[in-house]
């Protein structure tokens, strides 16, 4: 089992970036022969912790001790020399080289000044055999599945000096069988005495493989627990920073009013999704949205909410299922189709998928509308100005005028510009992916009020947020997602944070 003395200790580690405290006095320790999982939601600091450990970042304060001796690696190479190795989700290997070469490149066995290929291949085979992997090591890496590639990545970092292995989201692209295989390998490595840091957002997997769990929230250390002593519901609650007792039921009473007005089935259904799914993205799901309804998608990080939105909006092409808009079967396999059908989509990554920082506010706002009209039905500069000014006013966008570059606006106002773009197209269905992230409290409320007003005017809204209380406050119905699948739908009195968390923990 685990030793009393940790092989690695990170004490009161802090790391700051301009405007953000990535890590604040975080403690963390690893024991030999243990799998230790670090869990947390957005902004928890997991990746920063890993980057400090692997020498990509240098901590601003605090110390790291390896076997009791202080260390301060200043690069991944330095960390590797200390025996700290990381394997990432993207499998940082070279797909064009052979398996054997990937394992040994940079440290190939040499003979007479030349690379000793037979020895290279032999050694590679032996290394993989230790992980119970038996493949032709002379084939190029790209000819093998991601699961095998990950094993190769792990094999590369395992040599006699390896003490700590970090696995960052290793299971995101694996199917059930491959996960089971990986876990067999991890368990063997653990039993051989390796200290393993395992980062994942899959709840069930954590409980399968981890001996110990550390929870971070907003860069702060919440606690370290033995897996066997931490019930799932507690884990979720702690990740979200909630105490089990302090749930708001306030929204529930409002909900009954809302649901009663919406139960008359005479209203038009805007969206009906049947068995829409894409392997590797999200399991097939159903979803309906009626006029004036706000359906919230609630789930933990990585549960598949954005994937769901991307399928509905046509960014990804589903390989099964169908979408009905206003009762009519519609082929949605590109954002353009979706927009023509009357949809709009505010991406959660507004910086790289949403606004154009180098275009003016006016241009950003009219873009989707102009896109729908095409090249020749030009919206005159004057009309553009009118539309932009109207949006600026009604959304309360703080900008001196509509002709300044969007990059000069604050985050909250940029989000409003993105929202304005879609509102200008007068959609029947608006999908909002984390519209309140990274925005000050005042703006958050403004946006949520806006969403409620829009639904009152008949617009359908799909609302995604990591903050369960926001989802609860805005939505008439909530779809609960977990581990890339929709597991439940909550209506009426069930729409509260407590129920959402219990559903996720219960894991249907």
């Amino acid at each position: 089992m685990s030793d009393r003395v940790p092989i690695l200790e990170m004490k009161r580690i802090s790391k700051f970036f301009p405007g953000v405290k990535a890590l604040s006095d975080v403690d963390f320790r690893l024991f030999k022969g243990e799998v230790h999982s670090v869990m947390g939601q957005n902004g928890a600091g997991k990746s920063t912790l890993v980057k400090v450990l692997t020498g990509v970042y240098k901590q601003d304060s605090g110390e790291m001790l390896l076997e009791g001796k202080p260390i301060r690696p200043d690069s991944p190479l330095a960390a590797q020399k200390l025996g700290i190795n990381a394997v990432y989700q993207e499998v940082n290997l070279c797909p064009n080289l052979s398996v054997a070469e990937n394992i040994f490149i940079g440290k190939q066995p040499m003979k007479n000044g030349m690379i000793d290929w037979p020895k290279l291949n032999r050694n590679a085979g032996e290394l993989l055999a230790r992980l119970n992997i038996y493949i032709d090591v002379s084939q190029i890496l790209a000819s093998y599945s991601i699961a095998v590639q990950q094993m190769v990545a792990i094999a590369r970092v395992l040599d006699s000096s390896s003490q700590i292995l970090i696995l960052d989201e290793p299971t995101s692209s694996l199917d059930e069988n491959e996960v089971a295989q990986l876990f067999k390998v991890i368990k063997k490595l653990r039993d051989d005495g390796l200290a393993i840091l395992f980062i994942t957002h899959f709840l069930d997997q954590t409980y399968q493989i981890a001996d110990r769990i550390t929870i971070l929230k907003n860069g702060v250390f919440v606690g370290e627990y033995r897996t066997s002593e931490l019930p799932k519901l507690d884990l979720i609650a702690k990740m979200l920073g909630k105490e089990l007792s302090e749930f708001s039921f306030a929204a529930g009473s409002d909900k009954s009013k809302k649901t009663s007005s919406a139960t008359s089935r005479e209203v038009d259904s805007i969206l009906k999704v049947r068995a829409l799914g894409l392997p590797g993205s999200i399991a097939p799901f159903d979803l309906t949205l009626d006029k004036g309804e706000i359906v919230g998608l609630a789930g933990l990080l990585g549960s598949g909410r954005t994937e769901m939105a991307r399928l509905i909006f046509g960014i990804d092409s589903a390989d099964q299922g169908e979408i009905l808009i206003k009762g009519k079967k519609t082929n949605i396999n590109s954002p353009r189709n979706a927009i023509m059908a009357g949809m709009g989509f505010c991406s959660e990554d507004r910086k790289s998928e949403g606004i154009f920082p180098d275009l003016t506010v006016r241009e950003n706002i009219v873009l989707a509308l102009q896109g729908r009209k095409g090249i020749f039905q030009n919206i005159s500069k004057k009309k553009q100005g009118e539309i932009a000014d109207e949006m600026v006013k009604s959304l309360g966008i703080k900008t001196p005028n509509a002709n300044i570059l969007t990059k000069q606006l604050s985050g909250g106002n940029q989000q409003k510009v993105l929202l304005a773009r879609w509102l200008a197209t007068n959609p029947i269905l608006l999908i909002l992916d984390e519209p309140t992230r990274g925005i000050d409290v005042g703006a958050k409320f403004e946006i949520m009020e806006l969403i409620l007003n829009l639904s009152k005017q008949g617009m359908g809204v799909i609302f995604i947020s990591s903050e369960f209380e926001e989802v609860v406050r805005c939505s008439t119905r909530v779809a609960v997602l977990k581990d890339k699948a929709k597991i439940a739908e909550l209506v009426g009195n069930e729409v509260n944070e407590n129920k959402i968390m219990q559903t996720i923990a219960g894991g249907e």
């Binding site: 290997l93 030349m114 002379s138 957002h201 990080l301 954005t306 994937e307 959660e348």
Partner: protein, 338 residues
């Protein structure tokens, strides 16, 4: 790495080899006198310079870059060589190392800019093309014939290969063949060579794996400059003169040979052997057109351009098949934001 069975990796080389054999056969059938061993050796004699710059270009393209300056640096080398020999009366023993150094320096300069400031290779080497050609004219606007005894002796040297008749290889061909063999060794058996492939496969991964990416990238361009200079010396032996308009369009011939030889322009995949075959294909197309007699020799350009298009299309097709696998990654990545 090289297996005797035909698999996905070896396929491009066999395609190119097949193409060459096909053309040689067609020529032999269509034209009397075509099927001769000396004709085969002539391919090496006439295209020795292309083999050498092709080697440099292969390394650059495998690493994911491109070098458009090779033709101009070759021309500059011929100018400087002939000028130093004829006008400054320097000895070849001094001149040859000097111009080789010049080639390395020019390549190093470009590689340094590209690597250190993350500048696009095609623009920097396109500017290098202009720079080198401009410098050519600075040296001399007219042709400089070489009367130097040593050069003349070497140029007329013939390595006789008496089997199957009176056949020979000239000195520049010998240099080229030896160089290609050295390059084959470098690409397959040295850490430098393998790092080049790694960078082309995934530069980010190569960095994370601890490979000396920065140094290697600069070295690749320096090596290409060396190849251009060496090719220039070889070319000078071939023409026994220095002429500023030399090498016009040569970079394209080199790129075409590399692509036809199975190297991907996107990097990571390719071989020196493939380039050798690609140069032979290039050479034989020219010979076919000459034998044909009526076709404008510029048809070579068109045929080469078409072959490049064909091979690029094939590459694109294979890339998109491999790209399917990438979808898994992308779908998963978007879900994970820490």
């Amino acid at each position: 790495m090289k297996r005797s069975s035909i698999n996905q990796r070896n396929l491009p080389i066999f395609v190119t080899l097949g193409l060459f054999v096909l053309m040689f056969a067609l020529g032999s059938i269509a034209f009397p006198g075509f099927f001769a061993v000396q004709n085969f050796f002539n391919l090496f004699i006439d295209n020795a310079y292309l083999l050498i710059i092709g080697v440099g270009m292969t390394f650059v393209i495998i690493s994911g870059g491109i070098d458009l300056s090779v033709g101009s640096v070759l021309a500059l080398t011929t100018m400087v060589t002939s000028s130093l020999l004829e006008k400054s009366h320097m000895s070849p023993v001094l001149v040859i190392p000097l111009v080789l150094l010049m080639g390395i320096a020019l390549g190093f300069f470009q590689g340094y800019l590209i690597q250190t400031f993350d500048l696009p290779p095609f623009i920097i080497t396109l500017a290098g093309l202009y720079l080198a050609r401009g410098l050519c004219y600075v040296v001399s606007v007219d042709t400089i014939p070489i009367s130097n005894q040593f050069f003349n002796n070497v140029a007329h040297f013939q390595l006789n290969l008496p089997f199957l008749g009176q056949n020979f290889l000239s000195s520049n061909a010998v240099v080229a063949i030896i160089f290609v063999i050295v390059a084959l060794f470098m690409a397959h058996n040295t850490k430098f060579g393998r790092t080049v492939y790694a960078i082309g496969g995934s530069e980010q991964s190569a960095i994370l794996m601890g490979l000396p990416v920065r140094k290697t990238k600069i070295a690749i361009y320096a090596f290409s400059g060396f190849c251009s200079a060496l090719a220039g010396i070889v070319f000078t032996l071939y023409t026994l003169s220095g002429y500023a308009l030399n090498g016009s369009g040569m970079e394209l011939d080199a790129i075409a040979s590399v692509v036809i030889g199975g190297t991907l322009l996107t990097g990571g995949v390719g071989s020196i052997l493939g380039t050798l075959l690609g140069v032979l294909v290039y050479g034989i197309i020219q010979v076919l057109i000459v034998f044909q007699g009526t076709l404008n020799s510029w048809w070579t350009r068109i045929v080469i351009g078409f072959l490049v298009f064909l091979f690029c299309l094939l590459q694109r097709f294979f890339d998109s098949r491999r790209g399917q696998r990438k979808k898994y990654f992308l779908a998963a990545k978007s879900a994970t934001k820490t």
